[in-house]
Amino acid sequence: MASKIVSLTLNGREIEIMVKPLMTVQTLVREQLGYTATKAGCKQGGCGGCTVLVDGEPMQSCLLPVEDIAGRQVTTLEGLTPSDGLHPIQEAFYENFATQCGFCTPGMILVVKALLDRNPSPSREEIVDSLTGNYCRCTGYEPIIQAVSDAAQRMNGR
Protein backbone atom coordinates (compact mmCIF):
# COMPACT_ATOMS: atom_id res chain seq x y z
CA MET A 1 0.00 0.00 0.00
CA ALA A 2 1.25 3.44 -0.94
CA SER A 3 1.30 5.31 2.39
CA LYS A 4 2.87 8.75 2.39
CA ILE A 5 4.52 10.95 4.97
CA VAL A 6 2.75 14.27 5.32
CA SER A 7 3.79 17.32 7.32
CA LEU A 8 1.32 19.83 8.60
CA THR A 9 0.70 22.01 11.61
CA LEU A 10 -1.97 20.77 14.00
CA ASN A 11 -3.14 23.07 16.78
CA GLY A 12 0.07 25.04 16.51
CA ARG A 13 2.45 22.08 16.52
CA GLU A 14 4.29 20.87 13.43
CA ILE A 15 3.77 17.16 12.96
CA GLU A 16 4.81 14.48 10.52
CA ILE A 17 2.40 11.62 10.00
CA MET A 18 2.16 8.55 7.86
CA VAL A 19 -1.12 8.47 6.00
CA LYS A 20 -2.77 5.71 4.04
CA PRO A 21 -4.15 6.64 0.60
CA LEU A 22 -7.23 8.87 0.84
CA MET A 23 -7.19 8.90 4.64
CA THR A 24 -9.31 11.82 5.77
CA VAL A 25 -8.39 14.53 8.24
CA GLN A 26 -11.26 13.21 10.39
CA THR A 27 -9.71 9.74 10.57
CA LEU A 28 -6.30 11.26 11.19
CA VAL A 29 -7.25 13.43 14.14
CA ARG A 30 -9.74 11.05 15.74
CA GLU A 31 -8.28 7.61 15.18
CA GLN A 32 -4.58 8.10 14.56
CA LEU A 33 -3.90 11.00 16.92
CA GLY A 34 -6.68 10.53 19.50
CA TYR A 35 -8.06 14.08 19.24
CA THR A 36 -11.70 13.12 19.56
CA ALA A 37 -13.34 16.54 19.94
CA THR A 38 -13.91 16.55 16.17
CA LYS A 39 -16.95 14.33 15.69
CA ALA A 40 -18.24 11.89 13.07
CA GLY A 41 -22.00 12.40 12.64
CA CYS A 42 -22.61 11.37 9.05
CA LYS A 43 -19.37 11.04 7.05
CA GLN A 44 -21.22 12.77 4.21
CA GLY A 45 -20.40 16.41 4.84
CA GLY A 46 -24.01 17.02 5.79
CA CYS A 47 -24.00 17.57 9.55
CA GLY A 48 -20.99 19.79 10.21
CA GLY A 49 -19.96 17.74 13.25
CA CYS A 50 -16.54 17.08 11.70
CA THR A 51 -15.75 20.76 11.06
CA VAL A 52 -12.09 21.74 11.46
CA LEU A 53 -10.37 24.97 10.49
CA VAL A 54 -7.73 24.82 7.74
CA ASP A 55 -5.76 28.08 7.68
CA GLY A 56 -8.72 29.52 9.56
CA GLU A 57 -11.32 28.33 7.03
CA PRO A 58 -14.07 25.87 8.04
CA MET A 59 -13.88 22.55 6.22
CA GLN A 60 -15.60 19.19 6.64
CA SER A 61 -12.81 16.88 7.74
CA CYS A 62 -14.77 13.76 6.78
CA LEU A 63 -14.42 14.69 3.11
CA LEU A 64 -10.85 16.03 3.21
CA PRO A 65 -7.87 13.81 2.33
CA VAL A 66 -4.92 14.63 4.59
CA GLU A 67 -2.55 14.88 1.63
CA ASP A 68 -4.62 17.71 0.16
CA ILE A 69 -3.71 19.99 3.07
CA ALA A 70 -0.05 19.12 3.51
CA GLY A 71 1.82 22.06 4.92
CA ARG A 72 -1.32 23.85 6.08
CA GLN A 73 -2.46 24.84 9.58
CA VAL A 74 -5.24 22.72 11.02
CA THR A 75 -7.19 23.70 14.13
CA THR A 76 -9.49 21.43 16.07
CA LEU A 77 -11.44 22.32 19.21
CA GLU A 78 -8.55 21.01 21.29
CA GLY A 79 -6.46 23.80 19.77
CA LEU A 80 -8.92 26.45 20.90
CA THR A 81 -9.15 25.25 24.50
CA PRO A 82 -6.66 27.03 26.77
CA SER A 83 -4.82 24.94 29.36
CA ASP A 84 -6.60 26.93 32.03
CA GLY A 85 -10.16 28.18 31.80
CA LEU A 86 -12.17 28.58 28.63
CA HIS A 87 -12.04 30.53 25.39
CA PRO A 88 -14.74 33.25 25.39
CA ILE A 89 -16.72 31.34 22.76
CA GLN A 90 -16.70 28.28 24.99
CA GLU A 91 -17.75 30.39 27.97
CA ALA A 92 -20.60 31.87 25.97
CA PHE A 93 -21.85 28.44 24.87
CA TYR A 94 -21.64 27.16 28.43
CA GLU A 95 -23.40 30.12 30.04
CA ASN A 96 -26.13 30.37 27.40
CA PHE A 97 -27.08 26.66 27.44
CA ALA A 98 -26.10 26.46 23.79
CA THR A 99 -25.14 22.83 24.26
CA GLN A 100 -27.34 19.90 25.32
CA CYS A 101 -26.13 16.53 24.09
CA GLY A 102 -22.93 18.29 23.05
CA PHE A 103 -22.34 16.37 19.85
CA CYS A 104 -22.68 19.34 17.47
CA THR A 105 -20.82 21.68 19.82
CA PRO A 106 -17.21 21.25 18.64
CA GLY A 107 -18.18 21.92 15.02
CA MET A 108 -20.32 24.90 15.99
CA ILE A 109 -17.61 26.50 18.12
CA LEU A 110 -15.01 26.29 15.36
CA VAL A 111 -17.32 27.89 12.80
CA VAL A 112 -18.09 30.62 15.32
CA LYS A 113 -14.35 31.19 15.78
CA ALA A 114 -13.95 31.57 12.03
CA LEU A 115 -16.91 33.97 11.91
CA LEU A 116 -15.77 36.21 14.75
CA ASP A 117 -12.23 36.34 13.39
CA ARG A 118 -13.65 37.90 10.22
CA ASN A 119 -16.63 39.75 11.61
CA PRO A 120 -16.30 40.78 15.27
CA SER A 121 -19.87 42.11 15.51
CA PRO A 122 -22.06 39.94 13.33
CA SER A 123 -25.76 40.63 12.92
CA ARG A 124 -28.24 37.91 13.73
CA GLU A 125 -28.60 37.17 10.03
CA GLU A 126 -24.84 36.88 9.60
CA ILE A 127 -24.67 34.50 12.54
CA VAL A 128 -27.44 32.32 11.12
CA ASP A 129 -25.87 32.33 7.65
CA SER A 130 -22.52 31.20 9.03
CA LEU A 131 -24.06 28.23 10.87
CA THR A 132 -26.21 26.78 8.08
CA GLY A 133 -23.73 23.93 7.64
CA ASN A 134 -23.97 22.83 11.27
CA TYR A 135 -26.84 20.68 12.36
CA CYS A 136 -28.22 20.59 15.91
CA ARG A 137 -31.10 18.33 16.93
CA CYS A 138 -31.38 19.43 20.55
CA THR A 139 -31.33 23.17 21.14
CA GLY A 140 -33.53 24.51 18.36
CA TYR A 141 -30.56 26.79 17.50
CA GLU A 142 -31.82 29.88 19.35
CA PRO A 143 -29.52 29.45 22.40
CA ILE A 144 -26.61 28.97 19.99
CA ILE A 145 -27.39 32.21 18.13
CA GLN A 146 -27.57 34.03 21.46
CA ALA A 147 -24.30 32.46 22.54
CA VAL A 148 -22.60 33.79 19.43
CA SER A 149 -23.81 37.34 20.11
CA ASP A 150 -22.67 36.93 23.70
CA ALA A 151 -19.29 35.57 22.56
CA ALA A 152 -18.84 38.56 20.24
CA GLN A 153 -19.47 40.91 23.14
CA ARG A 154 -17.09 39.03 25.40
CA MET A 155 -14.37 39.15 22.77
CA ASN A 156 -14.92 42.81 21.92
CA GLY A 157 -15.01 43.79 25.56
CA ARG A 158 -11.52 42.48 26.18
Binding site: K39, G41, E91, Y94, F97, C101, F103, P106, R137
Partner: protein, 450 residues
Protein backbone atom coordinates in the same frame (compact mmCIF):
# COMPACT_ATOMS: atom_id res chain seq x y z
CA UNK B 1 -38.61 28.19 60.17
CA UNK B 2 -40.36 25.29 58.48
CA UNK B 3 -38.92 23.64 55.40
CA UNK B 4 -41.47 25.46 53.30
CA UNK B 5 -40.38 28.83 54.69
CA UNK B 6 -36.63 28.41 54.13
CA UNK B 7 -35.15 30.41 51.27
CA UNK B 8 -34.63 28.47 48.05
CA UNK B 9 -30.98 28.29 47.01
CA UNK B 10 -31.26 26.35 43.78
CA UNK B 11 -34.92 26.50 42.69
CA UNK B 12 -35.36 29.57 40.54
CA UNK B 13 -31.61 29.92 39.90
CA UNK B 14 -29.94 29.24 36.59
CA UNK B 15 -27.72 26.23 37.13
CA UNK B 16 -25.15 25.31 34.49
CA UNK B 17 -25.12 21.82 33.07
CA UNK B 18 -22.73 19.41 34.75
CA UNK B 19 -21.62 18.11 31.37
CA UNK B 20 -21.46 21.58 29.78
CA UNK B 21 -17.73 22.03 30.35
CA UNK B 22 -16.99 18.68 28.72
CA UNK B 23 -19.16 19.58 25.75
CA UNK B 24 -17.65 23.01 25.05
CA UNK B 25 -14.09 21.72 25.34
CA UNK B 26 -14.79 18.59 23.33
CA UNK B 27 -13.69 16.43 26.23
CA UNK B 28 -17.00 14.61 26.72
CA UNK B 29 -16.43 10.99 25.74
CA UNK B 30 -18.99 9.45 23.37
CA UNK B 31 -19.03 5.81 22.30
CA UNK B 32 -17.29 6.55 19.01
CA UNK B 33 -14.45 8.28 20.88
CA UNK B 34 -13.54 5.00 22.51
CA UNK B 35 -11.26 2.61 20.68
CA UNK B 36 -9.15 -0.47 21.34
CA UNK B 37 -6.15 -1.67 19.34
CA UNK B 38 -7.66 -5.11 18.62
CA UNK B 39 -11.19 -3.85 18.02
CA UNK B 40 -13.20 -5.45 15.24
CA UNK B 41 -16.02 -3.86 13.27
CA UNK B 42 -19.49 -5.30 12.75
CA UNK B 43 -21.59 -4.31 9.77
CA UNK B 44 -25.02 -5.69 9.02
CA UNK B 45 -26.40 -7.40 5.94
CA UNK B 46 -29.87 -5.93 5.53
CA UNK B 47 -32.89 -6.97 3.53
CA UNK B 48 -33.19 -4.98 0.29
CA UNK B 49 -36.92 -5.69 0.03
CA UNK B 50 -39.92 -5.20 2.34
CA UNK B 51 -41.22 -8.78 2.56
CA UNK B 52 -39.59 -12.01 1.49
CA UNK B 53 -38.81 -15.60 2.35
CA UNK B 54 -35.12 -16.26 2.88
CA UNK B 55 -34.12 -19.35 0.92
CA UNK B 56 -30.40 -19.05 1.54
CA UNK B 57 -27.43 -16.86 2.31
CA UNK B 58 -24.10 -17.25 0.50
CA UNK B 59 -21.06 -15.90 2.34
CA UNK B 60 -18.44 -17.42 0.05
CA UNK B 61 -17.46 -14.18 -1.71
CA UNK B 62 -17.63 -12.17 1.49
CA UNK B 63 -15.22 -14.56 3.21
CA UNK B 64 -12.56 -13.80 0.61
CA UNK B 65 -12.37 -10.10 1.51
CA UNK B 66 -9.05 -9.39 3.26
CA UNK B 67 -9.80 -8.66 6.90
CA UNK B 68 -12.97 -10.77 7.05
CA UNK B 69 -13.21 -12.44 10.47
CA UNK B 70 -16.60 -14.17 10.62
CA UNK B 71 -20.27 -14.00 9.88
CA UNK B 72 -23.11 -14.43 12.35
CA UNK B 73 -26.58 -15.69 11.53
CA UNK B 74 -29.63 -16.43 13.65
CA UNK B 75 -28.16 -19.85 14.42
CA UNK B 76 -25.45 -18.15 16.47
CA UNK B 77 -27.88 -16.25 18.67
CA UNK B 78 -28.76 -18.16 21.88
CA UNK B 79 -32.26 -16.69 22.16
CA UNK B 80 -32.97 -15.04 18.87
CA UNK B 81 -35.70 -12.64 19.89
CA UNK B 82 -35.70 -9.05 21.12
CA UNK B 83 -37.30 -9.11 24.54
CA UNK B 84 -38.13 -5.47 25.15
CA UNK B 85 -41.82 -6.00 25.76
CA UNK B 86 -41.33 -8.89 28.17
CA UNK B 87 -39.55 -6.63 30.59
CA UNK B 88 -42.46 -4.21 30.73
CA UNK B 89 -45.05 -6.93 30.99
CA UNK B 90 -46.40 -6.78 27.46
CA UNK B 91 -46.02 -9.70 25.11
CA UNK B 92 -45.42 -11.48 22.84
CA UNK B 93 -41.83 -10.96 21.75
CA UNK B 94 -41.63 -11.54 18.05
CA UNK B 95 -38.76 -9.61 16.51
CA UNK B 96 -35.72 -11.74 15.72
CA UNK B 97 -32.28 -10.34 16.37
CA UNK B 98 -31.21 -11.84 13.05
CA UNK B 99 -33.85 -12.93 10.54
CA UNK B 100 -34.65 -16.62 10.42
CA UNK B 101 -36.80 -17.68 7.51
CA UNK B 102 -38.23 -14.36 6.37
CA UNK B 103 -37.73 -10.62 6.36
CA UNK B 104 -40.52 -8.19 7.10
CA UNK B 105 -39.14 -4.74 6.26
CA UNK B 106 -36.57 -3.21 3.97
CA UNK B 107 -33.47 -2.79 6.10
CA UNK B 108 -34.14 -5.69 8.47
CA UNK B 109 -31.02 -7.27 10.00
CA UNK B 110 -30.27 -10.59 8.28
CA UNK B 111 -26.64 -11.45 9.03
CA UNK B 112 -23.74 -9.74 10.76
CA UNK B 113 -20.24 -9.51 9.30
CA UNK B 114 -17.28 -8.94 11.59
CA UNK B 115 -14.00 -7.73 10.09
CA UNK B 116 -10.75 -6.07 11.02
CA UNK B 117 -11.63 -2.68 9.54
CA UNK B 118 -14.85 -0.84 8.86
CA UNK B 119 -14.07 -0.79 5.12
CA UNK B 120 -13.45 -4.53 5.03
CA UNK B 121 -16.73 -5.13 6.87
CA UNK B 122 -18.63 -2.89 4.43
CA UNK B 123 -17.05 -4.58 1.46
CA UNK B 124 -17.78 -8.06 2.82
CA UNK B 125 -21.41 -7.08 3.44
CA UNK B 126 -21.71 -5.94 -0.18
CA UNK B 127 -20.56 -9.38 -1.32
CA UNK B 128 -23.02 -11.44 0.68
CA UNK B 129 -25.62 -12.96 -1.62
CA UNK B 130 -29.17 -13.29 -0.32
CA UNK B 131 -31.51 -15.77 -1.98
CA UNK B 132 -34.88 -14.15 -1.41
CA UNK B 133 -38.34 -14.92 -2.66
CA UNK B 134 -40.37 -11.72 -2.51
CA UNK B 135 -43.80 -11.84 -0.95
CA UNK B 136 -46.71 -9.43 -1.33
CA UNK B 137 -46.29 -6.51 1.04
CA UNK B 138 -48.66 -4.08 2.69
CA UNK B 139 -47.79 -0.48 3.58
CA UNK B 140 -51.00 1.11 4.85
CA UNK B 141 -52.74 0.49 8.19
CA UNK B 142 -56.28 0.28 6.85
CA UNK B 143 -55.18 -1.89 3.92
CA UNK B 144 -53.48 -4.19 6.41
CA UNK B 145 -56.75 -4.71 8.27
CA UNK B 146 -58.79 -5.55 5.17
CA UNK B 147 -59.66 -9.11 4.21
CA UNK B 148 -57.18 -10.42 1.71
CA UNK B 149 -54.21 -8.42 2.98
CA UNK B 150 -51.01 -10.45 3.29
CA UNK B 151 -50.85 -11.70 6.88
CA UNK B 152 -47.63 -10.68 8.59
CA UNK B 153 -47.70 -12.35 11.98
CA UNK B 154 -47.37 -15.99 12.94
CA UNK B 155 -50.44 -15.73 15.11
CA UNK B 156 -52.46 -15.02 11.99
CA UNK B 157 -53.30 -11.33 12.15
CA UNK B 158 -51.89 -7.93 11.20
CA UNK B 159 -52.77 -6.47 14.57
CA UNK B 160 -51.67 -6.82 18.16
CA UNK B 161 -54.05 -8.95 20.21
CA UNK B 162 -54.57 -7.23 23.54
CA UNK B 163 -54.65 -9.93 26.18
CA UNK B 164 -57.81 -9.02 27.96
CA UNK B 165 -59.85 -7.90 25.00
CA UNK B 166 -63.42 -8.95 25.43
CA UNK B 167 -64.58 -8.41 21.90
CA UNK B 168 -62.85 -10.87 19.62
CA UNK B 169 -64.41 -9.25 16.55
CA UNK B 170 -62.74 -5.95 17.34
CA UNK B 171 -59.13 -6.33 18.50
CA UNK B 172 -58.45 -2.83 19.71
CA UNK B 173 -57.37 -1.18 22.93
CA UNK B 174 -60.75 0.13 24.08
CA UNK B 175 -62.15 2.89 26.20
CA UNK B 176 -65.89 2.94 26.79
CA UNK B 177 -67.48 5.71 28.84
CA UNK B 178 -71.19 6.59 28.80
CA UNK B 179 -73.12 6.15 25.53
CA UNK B 180 -71.78 7.92 22.46
CA UNK B 181 -74.82 7.14 20.31
CA UNK B 182 -77.03 8.87 22.84
CA UNK B 183 -74.60 11.79 22.88
CA UNK B 184 -74.65 12.08 19.09
CA UNK B 185 -78.45 11.98 19.10
CA UNK B 186 -78.59 14.91 21.53
CA UNK B 187 -75.96 16.96 19.73
CA UNK B 188 -76.64 19.96 17.52
CA UNK B 189 -73.57 19.40 15.31
CA UNK B 190 -71.53 16.38 14.31
CA UNK B 191 -67.88 17.19 13.54
CA UNK B 192 -65.98 14.43 11.75
CA UNK B 193 -62.40 14.42 10.56
CA UNK B 194 -59.50 12.13 9.76
CA UNK B 195 -55.98 13.03 10.89
CA UNK B 196 -52.74 11.54 9.66
CA UNK B 197 -49.28 12.07 11.10
CA UNK B 198 -45.96 11.08 9.53
CA UNK B 199 -43.29 8.71 10.72
CA UNK B 200 -40.54 11.03 11.90
CA UNK B 201 -36.90 10.06 12.13
CA UNK B 202 -35.15 11.15 15.32
CA UNK B 203 -31.95 11.83 13.34
CA UNK B 204 -29.72 12.34 16.39
CA UNK B 205 -26.41 13.97 15.50
CA UNK B 206 -24.67 10.93 17.00
CA UNK B 207 -25.79 7.64 15.46
CA UNK B 208 -26.77 4.58 17.51
CA UNK B 209 -23.79 2.48 18.47
CA UNK B 210 -21.89 0.41 21.01
CA UNK B 211 -18.61 -1.36 21.64
CA UNK B 212 -18.64 -4.71 23.46
CA UNK B 213 -15.32 -5.67 25.04
CA UNK B 214 -14.49 -9.02 26.66
CA UNK B 215 -12.64 -8.55 29.95
CA UNK B 216 -10.01 -10.91 31.37
CA UNK B 217 -12.28 -11.85 34.29
CA UNK B 218 -14.91 -13.25 31.93
CA UNK B 219 -17.26 -10.28 32.03
CA UNK B 220 -18.11 -8.16 29.03
CA UNK B 221 -18.02 -4.36 29.20
CA UNK B 222 -20.42 -2.71 26.77
CA UNK B 223 -19.97 0.97 26.01
CA UNK B 224 -23.23 2.19 24.58
CA UNK B 225 -25.26 5.32 23.82
CA UNK B 226 -28.56 3.68 24.68
CA UNK B 227 -31.00 5.89 26.55
CA UNK B 228 -31.98 2.95 28.75
CA UNK B 229 -28.81 1.49 30.21
CA UNK B 230 -30.13 -1.13 32.63
CA UNK B 231 -33.06 -2.02 30.38
CA UNK B 232 -30.55 -2.69 27.60
CA UNK B 233 -28.35 -4.75 29.88
CA UNK B 234 -31.29 -6.91 30.94
CA UNK B 235 -32.44 -7.49 27.38
CA UNK B 236 -28.93 -8.32 26.22
CA UNK B 237 -28.53 -10.86 29.01
CA UNK B 238 -31.84 -12.51 28.13
CA UNK B 239 -30.95 -12.72 24.45
CA UNK B 240 -27.49 -14.10 25.13
CA UNK B 241 -28.76 -16.35 27.93
CA UNK B 242 -26.09 -15.21 30.35
CA UNK B 243 -26.42 -14.13 33.98
CA UNK B 244 -27.03 -10.39 34.26
CA UNK B 245 -23.83 -9.94 36.28
CA UNK B 246 -21.69 -11.09 33.39
CA UNK B 247 -22.43 -7.80 31.66
CA UNK B 248 -21.13 -4.40 32.66
CA UNK B 249 -22.85 -1.60 30.75
CA UNK B 250 -21.18 1.81 30.61
CA UNK B 251 -23.12 4.71 29.21
CA UNK B 252 -25.36 7.65 29.93
CA UNK B 253 -23.63 9.95 27.44
CA UNK B 254 -26.02 10.14 24.53
CA UNK B 255 -25.48 12.38 21.51
CA UNK B 256 -29.19 12.88 21.05
CA UNK B 257 -31.76 10.18 21.65
CA UNK B 258 -35.30 11.54 21.67
CA UNK B 259 -36.61 8.01 22.08
CA UNK B 260 -34.64 6.60 19.18
CA UNK B 261 -32.05 4.87 21.31
CA UNK B 262 -34.33 2.67 23.40
CA UNK B 263 -34.78 -0.31 21.13
CA UNK B 264 -31.77 -2.34 22.32
CA UNK B 265 -30.89 -3.10 18.71
CA UNK B 266 -27.08 -2.99 18.52
CA UNK B 267 -25.94 -4.24 21.93
CA UNK B 268 -27.02 -7.90 21.83
CA UNK B 269 -25.39 -8.73 18.51
CA UNK B 270 -22.22 -6.76 19.24
CA UNK B 271 -21.88 -8.47 22.61
CA UNK B 272 -22.40 -11.86 21.02
CA UNK B 273 -19.74 -11.09 18.40
CA UNK B 274 -17.35 -10.07 21.16
CA UNK B 275 -18.00 -13.31 23.00
CA UNK B 276 -17.50 -15.40 19.87
CA UNK B 277 -14.36 -13.63 18.61
CA UNK B 278 -12.72 -12.77 21.92
CA UNK B 279 -12.16 -9.22 20.61
CA UNK B 280 -13.80 -5.88 21.27
CA UNK B 281 -16.47 -5.41 18.61
CA UNK B 282 -17.95 -2.11 17.48
CA UNK B 283 -21.42 -1.93 15.89
CA UNK B 284 -22.61 1.55 15.03
CA UNK B 285 -25.14 2.74 12.49
CA UNK B 286 -24.02 4.74 9.52
CA UNK B 287 -26.05 7.86 8.87
CA UNK B 288 -27.92 6.01 6.13
CA UNK B 289 -28.80 3.15 8.50
CA UNK B 290 -29.92 5.65 11.11
CA UNK B 291 -32.24 7.32 8.61
CA UNK B 292 -33.57 4.27 6.79
CA UNK B 293 -33.42 1.27 9.10
CA UNK B 294 -33.58 2.53 12.66
CA UNK B 295 -36.97 3.05 14.23
CA UNK B 296 -38.91 6.24 13.67
CA UNK B 297 -41.83 7.84 15.48
CA UNK B 298 -44.96 5.88 14.61
CA UNK B 299 -47.39 7.32 12.12
CA UNK B 300 -50.96 7.58 13.38
CA UNK B 301 -54.28 7.70 11.55
CA UNK B 302 -56.97 9.08 13.85
CA UNK B 303 -60.65 9.30 12.93
CA UNK B 304 -62.69 11.63 15.09
CA UNK B 305 -66.45 11.96 15.35
CA UNK B 306 -67.70 14.50 17.86
CA UNK B 307 -71.22 15.43 18.88
CA UNK B 308 -71.32 19.10 19.94
CA UNK B 309 -74.01 21.42 21.28
CA UNK B 310 -74.60 24.86 19.82
CA UNK B 311 -73.04 26.40 22.90
CA UNK B 312 -69.81 24.54 22.27
CA UNK B 313 -70.00 21.64 24.70
CA UNK B 314 -68.72 18.29 23.48
CA UNK B 315 -71.35 15.69 24.38
CA UNK B 316 -69.78 12.70 22.70
CA UNK B 317 -66.42 11.81 21.19
CA UNK B 318 -65.69 8.70 19.22
CA UNK B 319 -62.12 8.04 18.08
CA UNK B 320 -60.75 5.23 15.98
CA UNK B 321 -56.96 5.26 15.81
CA UNK B 322 -54.50 3.14 13.90
CA UNK B 323 -50.85 3.03 14.91
CA UNK B 324 -48.50 1.91 12.17
CA UNK B 325 -46.16 -0.29 14.18
CA UNK B 326 -44.26 -1.22 11.05
CA UNK B 327 -43.00 -4.76 10.83
CA UNK B 328 -42.52 -5.45 14.54
CA UNK B 329 -43.93 -4.48 17.92
CA UNK B 330 -40.98 -2.72 19.54
CA UNK B 331 -42.82 -0.52 22.07
CA UNK B 332 -45.94 0.16 20.04
CA UNK B 333 -48.47 -2.03 21.92
CA UNK B 334 -47.59 -0.01 25.02
CA UNK B 335 -47.92 3.20 23.01
CA UNK B 336 -51.39 2.31 21.83
CA UNK B 337 -52.51 1.94 25.45
CA UNK B 338 -51.09 5.38 26.28
CA UNK B 339 -52.74 6.81 23.22
CA UNK B 340 -56.14 5.39 24.11
CA UNK B 341 -55.86 6.95 27.56
CA UNK B 342 -55.05 10.37 26.17
CA UNK B 343 -56.68 10.89 22.80
CA UNK B 344 -59.92 12.22 24.24
CA UNK B 345 -57.86 15.19 25.33
CA UNK B 346 -57.88 17.19 28.57
CA UNK B 347 -61.59 17.78 28.21
CA UNK B 348 -64.77 16.88 30.10
CA UNK B 349 -66.78 14.69 27.75
CA UNK B 350 -69.62 12.59 29.21
CA UNK B 351 -69.69 9.98 26.44
CA UNK B 352 -66.48 8.62 24.96
CA UNK B 353 -65.65 5.60 22.84
CA UNK B 354 -62.07 4.91 21.76
CA UNK B 355 -60.71 2.06 19.68
CA UNK B 356 -56.96 2.12 19.15
CA UNK B 357 -55.28 -0.51 16.99
CA UNK B 358 -51.65 -1.57 16.82
CA UNK B 359 -51.30 -2.54 13.18
CA UNK B 360 -48.42 -4.20 11.37
CA UNK B 361 -47.20 -3.21 7.93
CA UNK B 362 -44.02 -4.00 6.02
CA UNK B 363 -42.51 -0.66 6.95
CA UNK B 364 -39.62 0.33 9.19
CA UNK B 365 -40.66 -0.60 12.76
CA UNK B 366 -41.72 2.45 14.69
CA UNK B 367 -40.91 3.13 18.28
CA UNK B 368 -40.70 5.79 20.92
CA UNK B 369 -40.21 9.46 20.25
CA UNK B 370 -40.88 12.43 22.48
CA UNK B 371 -44.40 12.25 23.81
CA UNK B 372 -44.73 8.72 22.44
CA UNK B 373 -48.28 8.20 21.04
CA UNK B 374 -49.58 11.28 22.82
CA UNK B 375 -48.00 14.05 20.73
CA UNK B 376 -49.79 12.81 17.59
CA UNK B 377 -52.98 12.53 19.65
CA UNK B 378 -52.58 16.13 20.80
CA UNK B 379 -52.22 17.28 17.22
CA UNK B 380 -55.48 15.61 16.26
CA UNK B 381 -57.34 16.65 19.40
CA UNK B 382 -56.37 20.30 19.14
CA UNK B 383 -57.06 20.66 15.42
CA UNK B 384 -60.39 19.01 16.12
CA UNK B 385 -61.12 21.59 18.83
CA UNK B 386 -60.44 24.37 16.31
CA UNK B 387 -62.77 22.71 13.83
CA UNK B 388 -65.45 22.50 16.48
CA UNK B 389 -65.00 26.20 17.18
CA UNK B 390 -65.35 26.94 13.48
CA UNK B 391 -68.44 24.73 13.12
CA UNK B 392 -70.21 26.16 16.14
CA UNK B 393 -69.07 29.72 15.40
CA UNK B 394 -67.21 30.24 18.64
CA UNK B 395 -63.74 31.46 19.55
CA UNK B 396 -61.14 28.63 19.82
CA UNK B 397 -60.09 29.86 23.27
CA UNK B 398 -63.68 29.70 24.51
CA UNK B 399 -64.21 26.17 23.22
CA UNK B 400 -61.27 25.04 25.31
CA UNK B 401 -62.25 26.93 28.45
CA UNK B 402 -65.75 25.51 28.28
CA UNK B 403 -64.63 21.93 27.78
CA UNK B 404 -61.47 21.81 29.91
CA UNK B 405 -61.73 19.18 32.59
CA UNK B 406 -61.60 20.17 36.24
CA UNK B 407 -60.14 18.46 39.28
CA UNK B 408 -62.33 15.69 40.62
CA UNK B 409 -64.06 14.95 37.33
CA UNK B 410 -63.89 11.49 35.82
CA UNK B 411 -61.82 10.86 32.72
CA UNK B 412 -63.08 8.39 30.11
CA UNK B 413 -60.63 5.69 31.17
CA UNK B 414 -61.97 5.87 34.72
CA UNK B 415 -59.30 7.94 36.37
CA UNK B 416 -60.20 10.97 38.39
CA UNK B 417 -58.69 14.25 37.27
CA UNK B 418 -55.95 15.43 39.61
CA UNK B 419 -53.68 18.44 39.28
CA UNK B 420 -55.48 19.86 36.25
CA UNK B 421 -54.08 23.22 35.13
CA UNK B 422 -55.31 23.69 31.57
CA UNK B 423 -57.46 26.67 32.53
CA UNK B 424 -54.71 28.40 34.49
CA UNK B 425 -52.18 27.79 31.71
CA UNK B 426 -54.54 29.21 29.09
CA UNK B 427 -55.13 32.28 31.26
CA UNK B 428 -51.39 32.83 31.59
CA UNK B 429 -50.88 32.20 27.88
CA UNK B 430 -53.61 34.68 26.95
CA UNK B 431 -51.89 37.33 29.02
CA UNK B 432 -48.50 36.57 27.49
CA UNK B 433 -49.77 36.89 23.92
CA UNK B 434 -52.02 39.85 24.66
CA UNK B 435 -55.29 38.06 24.03
CA UNK B 436 -58.13 39.61 25.95
CA UNK B 437 -60.32 37.08 27.75
CA UNK B 438 -63.80 37.84 29.00
CA UNK B 439 -64.23 38.18 32.75
CA UNK B 440 -65.97 34.77 32.95
CA UNK B 441 -62.90 33.04 31.57
CA UNK B 442 -60.52 35.05 33.70
CA UNK B 443 -62.41 33.85 36.76
CA UNK B 444 -62.50 30.19 35.79
CA UNK B 445 -60.48 27.68 37.74
CA UNK B 446 -59.55 24.02 37.53
CA UNK B 447 -60.84 23.63 41.03
CA UNK B 448 -57.74 23.74 43.21
CA UNK B 449 -58.39 23.35 46.88
CA UNK B 450 -62.08 22.73 46.37
Amino acid sequence: MTVAEQPLNVVGQSVNRRDGLGHVTGKTVYVDDISFPDMLHLKMVRSPVPHAKINGIDFSEAEKVPGFVRALTHKDVPKNVYTILTLIGVGPDEEPVLAEDKVMYQGEQVAAIVAETEQAAMEAVSRVKLDLEELPAVFDVEEALKDGAPILKDWGTNYFVYDYEYDLQNPSRKVRFGDVEKGFAEADFIVEERYQTSPIEHAPTETTGCIAKPEPDGRITVYTNTQALFFTLDNTALILQVPFQKLHFVGGTVGGGFGGKVDVIVEPIATLAAMLTGHPVRYAFSREEEMRSSSSRGAWRMCFKDGVTKDGRILARQVTSYADAGAYNRHTPYAVTKHAANVAGPYRIPNVSIDAYCVYTNRQPSSAMRGFAVTPASFATEVQMDKIAETVGMDPWEIRFINAYRNGEMRPHQKEVEDATLIEVMQAAAELVGHELSEDYKQMSSGWGE
